[in-house]
């Protein structure tokens, strides 16, 4: 099947669109869609406009729904309406169902209007472009800069056991792309970045730079760090000059180049300032300047905007995009690690979503929207919504399934790191929203980053207080009861839910029950978890379990002795309970 995409690309590049369409007649719709999918997005749009409506309708349901949506936007409204009309009804329902609410509303409104006025060319959907002449074929450099083959990372536990943090994965970084890697915290995003940048050798597999093994070669890369990693005792100028000094650039040349970069990032006049005199945004500008000074081939960015306030971050993102799209920087590719979904959709040409424990590629797709992108546009929301879906639903996988290397051992249930109070807050919010809401709306309303919201949702789902489906979160009857209850009732509901559904806490309780004095060292549970998680994750798991268990009044914990004991109801509580009954 691999020859069709190439054949198709040649045909499109030579403008022989009729022949290309002829080719589709011979292919199954799935293969044809795959071949189209492999084209650069501009060519996809041109080709798609030329397709007969029937064929387009048949192909459209073979694309991922978000891509189908963006392709449909390439058509004029009447044609779009006709294409949607001629889709198979079942496929059409599936497609429309998958769209987030606003986008769906937007689309059906447009289609409705198109049907009633049967011919009105500019009927409102923002993206219906005028027919453009076929642009000169984009010179697509197929050669990726970095190719990672089956790289994986494991860490040795003190007792010699290995914990895998990154499952074997393939990844390539192509030129002229901003690649964003998304994932929950602790999913190994930063580890992946460091392996690709040559800072950390993979445990297995290899990383190739222009086909050469990374080890021993000096790839020309730069990293922008989340916490800037500036040297506080060096002035802004010295910080930017330091990498050039390391390359033996003579003094005058060093000064000239550093100054040039400082002008580019808007830091002219701050050369002799020390980092601590600067605001967070300015510090990160120094970070960018230092990275750009070496004119890196690939610019790695490790959550570069997450230590900044919202406005500063937005401003810096815009400026970065401007530098990138106007080719003011010589960087050929940007590799961005982030946990902010909107940031990824705003900046990236390609998004890779990682799942955690160990990290696997859950989705890898392109975002063909033109820059600058509008956060409020329907197409933007489609992608944001889709990423929420991917991140909350492990079963939704675009990438080929990864063979599990675990030796068939059942996976230990992982507690999301959240507090009972946060879960209660989420449930109350859902009550205010008639019990159901899109996740990105919840994040917006609570002013929470994805990273902070997802564990709360996972916690609520784990306890059976809510369900998450297709990027929506919905409260359950139990959740409703919990949200409406008073403090004491909440605790008992929480207790019931925890004991029914949380494996670790149930195990802890039964272990405590079996002891005559109902006391055990925390160490014991630590050792149980040791087999399944890394040390830092074990500590987090225990912290969460203690937090939940103490809230639910299942056990108490004495930090001084590091011991867990079964919760004993105090006299006051028993009296209270008696009074209630």
């Amino acid at each position: 099947m691999s020859e069709y995409p190439r054949q198709l690309r040649e045909l499109v590049a030579q403008g022989r669109l009729d022949e290309a369409i002829g080719l589709f007649e011979r292919l199954s719709p799935v293969d044809a869609a795959a071949a189209i999918f492999a084209l650069p997005f501009e060519q996809q749009r041109i080709l798609f406009r030329q397709l007969p409506t029937k064929l387009a309708a048949r192909l459209i349901s073979c694309f991922p729904y978000f891509h189908a949506y963006v392709l449909l936007q390439a058509l004029k409204v009447p044609e779009m309406a006709a294409t949607v009309e001629s889709m198979h009804p079942a496929d059409r329902d599936l497609f429309l169902d998958a769209l987030p609410e606003e986008t769906w509303q937007n689309l059906t409104d447009t289609l409705e209007r198109a049907r009633s006025q049967s011919a009105l060319p500019e009927a409102g959907v923002e993206a219906a472009p005028a027919e453009a002449p076929i642009p000169a074929p984009v010179a697509t450099e197929a050669q990726p800069i970095i190719v990672a083959r089956q790289i994986e990372k494991s860490y040795q536990q003190p007792e010699g056991r290995e914990i895998q943090v990154i499952a074997p994965m393939d990844l390539s970084v192509e030129p002229n792309t901003i690649l964003a890697v998304l994932g929950p915290s602790g999913s190994g995003k930063s580890t992946l970045l460091r392996m690709l940048a040559g800072l950390l050798p993979p445990t297995k597999g290899e990383v190739l730079w222009h086909g050469e093994p990374l080890q021993g070669s000096h790839p020309n890369v730069a990293i922008v760090f989340q916490n800037f990693a500036l040297f506080p005792w060096l002035t802004v100028l010295d910080n930017v000059e330091a990498p050039l000094l390391a390359r033996g650039v003579p003094r005058r040349e060093r000064y000239r180049r550093a100054l040039k970069v400082l002008v580019t990032v808007g830091l002219k006049g701050f050369e002799s300032a020390y980092p601590k005199e600067l605001s967070g945004g300015m510090k990160q500008r120094v970070g960018f300047a230092r990275a750009l000074a070496v004119e890196p081939e690939v610019l790695f960015m490790d959550e570069p905007f997450s230590a900044l306030d919202v406005l500063t971050a937005e401003n810096l993102r815009r400026e970065l995009l401007e530098l990138w799209s106007e080719k003011k920087i010589s960087t050929r590719s940007i590799f961005l690690v982030t946990h902010n979904i909107e940031e990824a959709v705003l900046l990236a040409d390609r998004v890779v979503v990682l799942g955690s424990n160990p990290a696997t590629v859950r989705a890898d797709f392109r975002i063909p929207l033109a820059q600058p992108r509008d956060r409020k546009s329907a197409a933007f929301l489609v992608y944001v919504d889709y990423i929420y879906k991917v991140m909350t639903q492990p079963s939704l996988e675009l990438a080929p399934p990864i063979p599990t290397t675990a030796e068939g051992k059942p996976k230990w249930q992982m507690l999301p790191h959240t507090r009972p109070g946060s879960i209660a807050g989420l449930l109350e919010l859902l009550m205010d929203h008639r019990g159901e809401e899109d996740m990105y709306h919840v994040a917006e309303e609570l002013l929470l980053e994805t990273d902070d919201l997802l564990p709360i949702i996972e916690g609520a789902v784990l306890l059976g207080f809510a369900t998450a489906r297709e990027g929506d979160v919905k409260i359950t009857a139990e959740g409703r009861a919990f949200a409406e209850a008073d403090i004491a009732t909440r605790k008992s509901l929480f207790r019931d839910a925890v004991l029914a559904r949380v494996e670790l806490i149930r195990k802890m309780k039964s272990a405590l029950d079996s002891k005559s004095d109902h006391v055990m060292p925390l160490e014991f549970f630590h050792d149980i978890l040791d087999e399944h998680f890394t040390e830092s994750e074990v500590l987090k798991q225990l912290e969460t379990a203690l937090n939940w268990g103490r809230y639910a009044e299942i056990f108490s914990y004495e930090p001084a002795t590091d011991k867990v004991s079964l919760h004993k109801a105090s006299d006051f509580e028993t009296q209270n309970a008696a009074a209630r009954e």
């Binding site: 460091r194 940048a197 040559g198 800072l199 080890q215 021993g216 000096h218 890369v221 730069a222 990293i223 760090f225 916490n227 800037f228 990693a229 040297f231 506080p232 005792w233 060096l234 002035t235 100028l237 010295d238 330091a242 990498p243 000094l245 390391a246 390359r247 033996g248 003579p250 003094r251 050369e271 002799s272 020390y274 980092p275 601590k276 005199e277 510090k283 230092r290 070496v294 930090p559 001084a560």
Partner: protein
């Protein structure tokens, strides 16, 4: 430094009234004078060093001789400090980056730290005098090395732990931009460690003043050694029971210490501010007029531009070229690996040989001597603990009283600092003289002496702890009308606990070390001594009784290490988890 610092620094005086040329002469003149006098001092000392060997310099007790002696002592301390600093940087660097060496070097450092200075005396002196038998140089070098053993270990430890705590991201910056070792050292490691190096340097130099008496005048077997210096002046005055001379010597020593503090340490601390590893500017900054004088000078930037910068540039570019030419070698060849193991093997052989030799020496001891050593260990142990208890008893209330009131602290703290900077050993003669008048023996007197040397560590830490008590917690106590006792139990004692422990750790080590000087004392032609490990070590060093010296030293090191491991480290862990005031 880029840019001209002149423009940024505010001038200490209104020199704007002078024309620029005059003002530059006025500011640069002191710098010239200082440079020339330092140069002259070294010249004098160097000439003296190459005079023929005289074991006993004639020590004159005339006050007019004091400036010369002070100069000798200062230069002695300065040189040994520089050696200690270079040694520490090398030692810390190797220990931090060579995993195999680290396993050996850090416990070794721990042990060395717990060995009292005096125990090094015979070995060091004999070796150095044997090296240069004809010249004064040999005995001077011995004295230098002895001072060095009192200075080096804590600096090395500080540098090592600084290197270990450099944030991962900084290392990554250095690696991704391919900094070579030299650049890493100059732009990352030394600056990051600077603050710790400065504070530990101050501690080390204070320790050098403390041991100065022992290091400048000592007996080795039949021979008395005496080097010209403030320490031997004080000791000679004490031997002659010349109270006037003792006070003169004391005044001179305090004067030198105060002047050094103003001329050297304060400018250095103010300069080191820029190495603080913080991302936000603090409002409180240490100021130093001397540093401002240096910064407003014209000659220094000129030297910097014309000499220092080009040299730095030359080194940097040469290293960069070399680094670029070298291919990255991750896997070493087998021969290189064998060579790599050689130092470790050599060390092991040396260690084994040392152990055999030492056990030979130790076996030569009589049972009674051995019993004496253990009894002494017990006595000194009790004395150290009593000292700590007494010190805590007065410093905790006093420190809290000072620290709880910001205005009071601002007035009292500098005074306390000056008083504390007087090396306790310099006070010993006076105290012992007083004690003998009163009729108390050294058994109790040595506790007073040890207290003199160690109480300040606790006091400073308690003051710092009291100052760090959060205002809101104190307000809670006010609102709920806590009584004095409740206030102490609920807020003050838990709040200062971590600081108190930190102070006690340092004080405990200091007290053990001080016991050597406090339990055995030459005065007025007599030897005052009492039962104790310190006295045994001093006496053994005096009489070249190597078996006793060795075993007593090993016992002391073992006790200090054990107490650190079993008591202080655990208390420290409790303090840093349970009693940590988190904001």
């Amino acid at each position: 430094m880029k840019g001209s610092p002149r423009e940024r620094s505010s001038r200490p005086l209104a020199w704007g009234i002078f024309p620029p040329a005059v003002s530059s002469v006025v500011t640069d003149l002191p710098i010239f004078l200082a440079a020339f006098s330092v140069f002259y001092a070294f010249l004098v000392v160097a000439r003296y060093w190459f005079t023929p060997f005289t074991a006993q310099a004639e020590i004159s007790l005339r006050p007019s001789a004091l400036p010369m002696y002070a100069m000798f002592s200062v230069i002695r301390i300065a040189i040994s400090y520089v050696i200690a600093l270079l040694f520490s940087i090398a030692y810390g660097y190797i220990a931090a980056y060579n995993k195999r060496a680290e396993k050996l070097m850090i416990p070794l450092l721990d042990t060395l730290q717990s060995i009292p200075v005096l125990s090094f005396l015979p070995g060091v002196m004999l070796a150095m005098v044997a090296l240069f038998p004809r010249r004064q140089l040999g005995i001077e070098l011995g004295s230098l090395l002895l001072i060095f053993t009192g200075q080096a270990w804590n600096i090395a430890f500080s540098f090592y732990s600084s290197l270990k705590s450099i944030p991962r991201e900084m290392h990554e910056v250095a690696e991704v931009y391919r900094w070579h070792r030299w650049q890493k050292l100059m732009q990352m490691e030394l600056p990051f460690a600077a603050i710790g190096l400065v504070w530990n340097s101050m501690i080390s130099v204070a320790a050098a003043w403390f041991y100065l008496i022992a290091c400048e005048m000592f007996t080795l077997g039949k021979q008395d050694f005496r080097l010209p210096g403030l320490g031997s002046y004080l000791q000679t005055a004490a031997n002659a029971a010349d109270t006037g001379a003792i006070i003169w010597g004391l005044v001179a020593m305090v004067g030198v210490i105060v002047v050094l503090d103003q001329l050297v340490w304060r400018p250095v601390i103010a300069w080191a501010e820029k190495f603080k590893f913080e991302q936000i500017e603090t409002s409180q900054v240490v100021r130093s007029p001397i540093l401002e004088l240096l910064r407003s000078s014209r000659i220094l930037p000129y030297i910097g531009r014309r000499i220092v910068d080009p040299v730095k540039e030359r080194i940097a570019s040469r290293v960069a070229i070399k680094a670029a030419r070298e291919p990255e070698t991750r896997g070493r060849r087998p021969i290189a690996r064998v060579i790599n193991y050689l130092p470790a093997a050599a060390t092991l052989v040396a260690l084994a040989w040392g152990v055999v030799k030492m056990s030979g020496l130790a076996l030569a001891l009589h049972g009674s001597e051995l019993r004496g050593i253990f009894v002494g260990g017990g006595a000194t142990f009790l004395r150290v603990e009593v000292t700590l208890l007494l010190a805590a008893l007065w410093t905790v209330p006093a420190g809290v009283w000072i620290g709880m009131n910001a205005r009071r602290a601002a007035v009292v703290q500098p005074i306390v600092q000056v008083v504390a900077s007087v090396p306790a050993t310099a006070l010993f003669p006076i105290v012992v003289l007083l004690l003998t008048r009163v009729g108390g023996g050294l058994a109790v007197g040595s506790i007073v002496l040890m207290l003199l040397g160690t109480q300040w560590y606790i006091l400073f830490n308690v003051i710092a702890g009291a100052m760090a008590l959060p205002t809101d917690l104190r307000e809670v106590c006010d609102i709920f009308r806590f009584g004095q006792w409740e206030r102490w139990r609920e807020l003050i004692l838990p709040g200062i606990f971590p600081y108190l422990i930190t102070g006690c750790v340092t004080a405990s080590g200091g007290a053990w070390n001080a016991s050597i000087l406090a339990e055995y004392f030459h005065l007025n032609g007599h030897i005052f001594s009492t039962t104790g490990l310190g006295a045994l070590i001093s006496e053994a060093a005096d009489n070249s009784n190597y078996p006793v010296l060795l075993v007593a030293t090993m016992l002391m090191a073992a006790i200090v290490l054990l107490i650190n491991r079993l008591v202080w480290r655990r208390l420290y862990a409790v303090a840093s988890t349970r009693f940590k005031l988190e904001t």
